[in-house]
């Protein structure tokens, strides 16, 4: 069971590493220009860690990812993503993912990030990509969408959420020092979150049958 999760995480790490420059550039505009550097450093370690170890359960695997991120990313994103994965590790099943389990996973990530960073939606952070994605899954559940449909909607909402950070004024994180000057730039953390959600969705999609 952990093989599939490992593959997804490995792919996710690759995508983040590929986007190192892009994320750093976004952070230069409204932060301190290290988001891509921080994330790439962390996910390089994640790749080494998970490929060099065997895990009995997804819980173990995710906890290992969390601890690796926490101890290598640094900055604001390190503890936030680290806590997100730690919270996920507490709920992730070993069985195949369902809409229900994905909602639980997504909500845990949000809970972890909010516990740590005390931000709400609309403050121009990673939450602005993640919360809409989780909300989409919840809606799909109510609407009775199938997993495939739900995943597609989830990805679309994450992307919309990321783009919606452009006109926002930051009130959390380093970008908040800029006040109104933070308006007009896409949030780097929302961008990395979207990239992760997109990758997870695309990978799950591969295995959908």
């Amino acid at each position: 069971m952990t093989e599939k999760s490992k593959e997804i995480l490995d792919k996710l790490a690759d995508v983040i590493i590929e986007n190192k420059k892009h994320l750093t550039k976004l952070d230069s505009a409204i932060g301190d220009g290290d988001h891509g550097i921080n994330m790439a450093r962390g996910f390089k370690e994640v790749k080494e860690k998970i490929n060099g170890n065997n895990y009995e359960t997804n819980q173990e695997l995710l906890k290992s990812v969390a601890m690796t991120l926490i101890s290598t990313v640094g900055g604001a994103s390190g503890p936030l993503y680290g806590t997100a994965f730690l919270y996920i590790s507490k709920v992730i099943p070993d069985a195949d993912f369902t809409i229900d389990s994905l909602i639980e996973i997504g909500q845990s990530a949000v809970d972890g990030i909010q516990k740590r960073g005390k931000a709400e939606q609309g403050e121009k952070t990673m939450l602005d990509a993640i919360i809409p994605a989780v909300d989409a899954l919840k809606e799909s559940k109510e609407n009775g969408d199938d997993l495939e449909e739900a995943l597609q909607k989830c990805k679309v909402k994450a992307e919309e959420g990321m783009k919606a950070t452009i006109p926002m004024q930051a009130t959390k994180g380093r970008a908040s020092y800029l006040g109104e000057r933070s308006i007009g730039h896409q949030d780097p953390g929302a961008t990395s979150s979207y990239l992760m959600i997109k990758t997870i969705v695309d990978e799950l999609y591969k295995y959908k049958d």
Binding site: I37, G75, A76
Partner: protein, 330 residues
């Protein structure tokens, strides 16, 4: 500024930490495997003081590890807050059973990483508390921001809380006096020229040859205002004016004054700045109890200066004057 006296930028923090400990091997040691500097005689039977943050602000933080100030300091990557495991290692190395106070500068990353470390330490039964320094008056302090940044005023927190801990106070008392300092300390800085982190190709920001930035942070974060270059006295009037009106500091107050170089400023210019600061404070009837001129909280090779005032009462004076091993705070 492309040239630097470094080897591989990926190892610069580790090599720096080794160099720091080698400069004072009788008093400092490095926690194996981490960029953490602690007093060699750790743990001591007193409340321990731990601080840290991104590197590039030297002598902050490791330069303030020593009797009468910090017990441990964590050096993150350049301008990147350190990770919780490193902070946790520092806490474990210095805790002597009377608890540990973390002095955190108010940056989202620093606050979160230190809080996580505190949770780890508490899970192991170590008593940990923390204070958050936010002395930079250039940032608007509102409920809708992450609040003000911690800058040079942090050094006074280290000095005074360090003296209190050395005197045998309990964790709550050390925290209380640290918070008194935080309430009474204000800073504003400016830059003439930017800095560049060793791993980056370009400076974090750029300034024209006739342009300066007022209210800048210690990572080259944007300030409040870009203006034409002014003469030193006018710059000082501007910085000190903002600082004074913020608390406000008033006629009859006793203060400590810090004229802090940002890394690339000749000492000559800091003394010219100090002259004007003295004139302004004298005009306002504010008494300078003690003056610190030099590099305390830098931003790599950034050229510029920050001005800090700390309002003193009798307790703070005594603790500021208390002995310490840290030469530049004597």
């Amino acid at each position: 500024m492309k040239k630097k006296l470094v080897n591989n930028p990926d190892h610069v923090v580790e090599e720096m930490v080794e160099g720091i400990v080698l400069a004072d091997p009788d008093k400092l040691s490095k926690v194996e495997g981490y960029n953490v500097v602690v007093r060699k005689d750790s743990p001591n039977e007193k409340v321990a003081l731990v601080s840290g943050g991104g590197s590039g602000h030297e002598p902050t933080h490791a330069g303030f590890v020593g009797e009468g100030m910090l017990d441990g300091a964590i050096a993150g990557d350049v301008f990147t807050s350190p990770t919780p495991d490193a902070v946790f290692e520092a806490i474990k190395a210095v805790d002597g059973g009377k608890g540990v106070l973390l002095v955190i500068k108010n940056y989202t990353g620093d606050v979160m990483n230190f809080e996580m470390a505190a949770e780890m330490a508490e899970a192991e039964g170590i008593e940990v508390d923390h204070v958050v320094v936010d002395d930079d008056v250039a940032v608007e302090d509102s409920l809708y921001t992450t609040g003000r940044r911690g800058v040079a005023g942090t050094i006074f927190v280290h000095k005074i809380a360090g003296a209190k801990a050395e005197a045998g106070a309990e964790l709550a008392e050390v925290k209380e006096v640290a918070e008194k300092v935080i309430k009474n300390v204000k800073t504003k800085g400016m830059a003439l020229y930017p800095c560049r982190v060793p791993s980056a190709e370009e400076s974090t920001f750029t300034l024209d040859e006739d342009e300066i930035e007022l209210g800048i942070g210690i990572h080259g974060e944007p300030g409040t205002e870009r203006t034409e270059i002014m003469k030193a006295d006018d710059i000082l009037d501007e910085l000190l004016g903002s600082v004074i009106e913020d608390l406000p500091y008033e006629s009859g107050d006793d203060v400590a004054l810090m004229i802090n170089g940002m890394g690339g400023t000749p000492l000559m210019e800091l003394f010219v700045a100090n002259r004007r600061a003295n004139q302004v404070l004298e005009e306002k009837g504010i008494n300078i109890y003690k003056t610190f001129v030099g590099e305390y909280m830098t931003s790599l090779e950034m050229a510029g200066v920050s001005v800090t005032l700390l309002k003193l009462d009798d307790e703070l004076k005594e603790l500021l004057d208390a002995p310490t091993e840290i030469n530049i705070m004597k």
